[in-house]
């Protein structure tokens, strides 16, 4: 599973990254988590409203910080 968190470093983006890492750890699954901060990469991935969450090349959410429980549900 490849998970990408896209954002340019503001607190919300970092929070989403932390939540994703916690969710993956709690689920005990193997996932490759990447934090994408380059603007062009973010836009080319189809995200305009950061923070964005992409799982296995599918855009899961844009513009919000999802909490750990919801991320766990999304990843299952």
């Amino acid at each position: 599973m490849e998970i990408k968190v896209l954002g340019s470093g503001c607190p919300n983006c970092k929070r989403l990254l932390a939540n994703v890492e916690a969710a993956v750890k709690e689920l005990g699954i193997k996932a490759d988590i990447r934090y994408v901060t380059d603007f062009m990469d973010i836009v080319n991935a189809g995200i305009m409203h950061t923070p964005g969450l992409i799982v296995d090349d599918q855009i899961v959410s844009t513009g919000r910080v999802i909490n750990v429980e919801d991320i766990k549900r999304l990843l299952k």
Binding site: S8, C10, F39, V43, A45, G46, M48, H49, R64
Partner: protein
């Protein structure tokens, strides 16, 4: 009209809350009304609690409405319009579209790649931090509805004219090349579209929004209220009147220039604005200060610098600053119409 005033006084100004603290510090603790402690403490506690209540309710409502206007949808809508109509619509949509400053670059790039003129994108970027539902209601709570609506109107005018001027000066060429040169793969519709949320999802989104914003701004609010309390209780009226009052023709200029390098959430400027108004500072001067603090922020300017060349950035800052200053003087001149 009386009902309206009651709503304004009790729900927005929360006179009852102020009365509670006046009682607490005056009667229970026995502080004399003249002392600095009484003035500052009553103001501090009343204002902190009032702002957090207002903040939660207003952010909840705003975020709920905003769930209907994700940037992707705004971009699609704007693509269908041209000229000043597009600028006006961009300015209007900017007021209901939320984004934190780190989104301003992706949004800029996204809009530009979709073919939206630079001016239209800037109208959006100017109005977004300047005007939104929450700040309008806040202003109504400090002043009154007429001023709040006038603020919205002027904010929109600044956004529309700013964007139109930027287009008129043909500043497209000052956008960094890599922005427009990138492939249009960004046009893909996200598979989960924000605008297709269910009602319950929107409620949760709105609640989440409140939590996020409070986490982000609580410190600004405490600092703002502390400064307001100092202004209220400690700084002598005469000093404020001399520097920022109606007699000083430079008050608007000063308020704007001081506000620009500062960045705080509008909720943090509210208590300072309240205290200044209480001490007799002109409406226009206070509005100019609030606008200067919220419209231009160092974080988003630093980010914009990466996608537009300096000349365009400077033009953008210059136009917005001028607009704010003009608006400040205008409001001071015609304030008798509003108060």
């Amino acid at each position: 009209m009386i009902v309206f005033e009651w709503i304004n006084d009790q729900l927005l100004k929360m006179d009852w809350l102020h009365a509670i603290f006046e009682w607490l510090f005056g009667t229970v603790f026995g502080l004399s009304q003249e002392t600095i402690w009484y003035q500052s403490l009553t103001f501090f506690f009343y204002d902190v609690i009032k702002i957090f209540i207002l903040l939660s309710v207003l952010i909840f409502l705003s975020t709920f409405i905003q769930s209907y206007f994700p940037p992707e949808r705004t971009r699609k809508i704007l693509g269908r319009f041209h000229g000043i109509g597009a600028n006006s619509l961009a300015a209007l949509l900017g007021t209901v579209t939320p984004f934190c400053s780190c989104s301003s670059i992706p949004i800029f790039i996204g809009f530009t790649q979709a073919g939206l003129p630079v001016g239209v994108t800037f109208s959006f970027l100017i109005s977004s931090p300047l005007v939104d539902l929450a700040s309008v209601l806040l202003l109504a709570s400090i002043f009154n509805w007429k001023i709040a609506l006038a603020y919205v109107l002027v904010g929109l005018v600044i956004a529309v004219s700013g964007g139109t001027l930027i287009s008129a000066f043909k500043m497209e060429k000052y956008v960094e090349g890599f922005v427009t040169a990138a492939p249009a793969s960004a046009m893909a519709e996200p598979r989960i579209d924000d605008s297709r949320m269910s009602f319950k999802e929107r409620l949760r989104f709105a609640l989440g929004g409140v939590g996020q914003i409070i986490r982000r701004v609580w410190l600004y609010i405490l600092i703002g209220v502390a400064i307001g309390a100092v202004i209220h209780g400690v700084i002598p009226q005469t000093l404020i009147e001399t520097v920022l009052g109606a007699q000083n023709p430079f008050s608007v200029l000063l308020a704007t220039l001081v506000g620009i390098p500062m960045y705080a959430d509008i909720f943090g400027t509210l208590p300072i604005a309240e205290a200044l108004v209480f001490k007799g500072v002109g409406v226009g001067t206070v509005l100019a200060f609030m606008m200067a603090v919220t419209a231009l922020s160092l974080p988003s300017l630093v980010m914009l610098k990466r996608v537009v060349k300096t000349k365009l950035l400077v033009t953008f800052v210059g136009i917005v600053t001028l607009g704010i200053i003009l608006m400040g003087y205008l409001f001071n001149a015609i304030s008798f119409l509003f108060i």
